[in-house]
Subunit: 222 residues, 2 copies
Amino acid sequence: MRELYHLWLSPACRQVRIMLAEKQLEFELIIEKEWERRESFLKLNPAGEVPVLLEADGTVLPGSTVICEYLDEAYPEPSLLGDTALARAETRRLIMWFSTKFNVEVTENLLSEKFDKRFLGRGSPNTHAIRAGKTNIGYHLEYIGYLCERRRWLSGDNISLADITAAAHLSALDYLGDVPWDDHPGARDWYARIKSRPSLRPILADHIPGLPPPKSYANLDF
Amino acid sequence: MRELYHLWLSPACRQVRIMLAEKQLEFELIIEKEWERRESFLKLNPAGEVPVLLEADGTVLPGSTVICEYLDEAYPEPSLLGDTALARAETRRLIMWFSTKFNVEVTENLLSEKFDKRFLGRGSPNTHAIRAGKTNIGYHLEYIGYLCERRRWLSGDNISLADITAAAHLSALDYLGDVPWDDHPGARDWYARIKSRPSLRPILADHIPGLPPPKSYANLDF
């Protein structure tokens, strides 16, 4: 059986979980506390980070970019990157938008400060960072709305890894109750659509002991 | 003519310059001071960052990942990602290694602190960051040596975008005289090999007004 080493609120891990589900590929989840720097895990991924996907034949794929590009090549139906080089360029532009720009401006300011620091005992949250994250998320939600006025999904007519990457980040923040959906109806409509897909169901069923999600987290009508 | 919007010491821009040269694709360089947030540049790339590649037919490709993946699809010879899905996974693993892990642990601590801050007037360099960067670079140079004991190039028998990405970062740091090559002979041998390729020549001819490189920068024998 395929195994995914992951952490519950890691957007990169959620991206792979949704990707696998959209491809209808079965897998088992294994929690990897990467900060323990387990030796046999470091052999799988010298970078020491989740996600790592272990295919049934022993193939090791470390990191969400590597995993998702590989899965789209090895299991091409349905294509989640796009059918032409240009379509793939636009999908990858938006994947990078969320996995770098959104990550630095929003996810690290909110998720890392509020969750990682508290649960991993890495000091008290930086209130300036949290304020910056709360301001920045508005610009990104407006950008999602802007794109969805012009296209059905973020990178074109079909759902793609761009939507999956954005949903991976936003669902993790939504677990903390940190997404002001009501102020951004365009982004809210897009999230309602992706939230109702079967691939999101396991993500919405996540329940971290000691940190339950708000009620709206799994509610398809918000 | 193809145009590349770039900045001289940006590793992401150097990665694209070397990639284009390895593919023997001609291009013109245009300096883009991204911090000025020029409106017509923001239309090319809403993320407001270099590199951006403008193809002769008007196709806009923003960001080094998007550009390099596109170029390898559109101009497949020679392949710089690899010939199989697994080979591409290993190349992408190492691209991510240098563009995220090395970037955070080394490049941002040295290049951003020493160059960006001074030239862009963003305050004085953080000496703790510089010390961390100088410590971390040693581990990464050892890793390059480790890989080259097992393979001819970083990701396999042929030069790939993994080597190009590593050389893009290390050449920018070498411009500042910040790479302790003599302490890491394995990495030094690898860099001597890539440095002697025609694709590196324009990079080694870079000369930023007011900030000349050390003599060893362009010296093929160090």
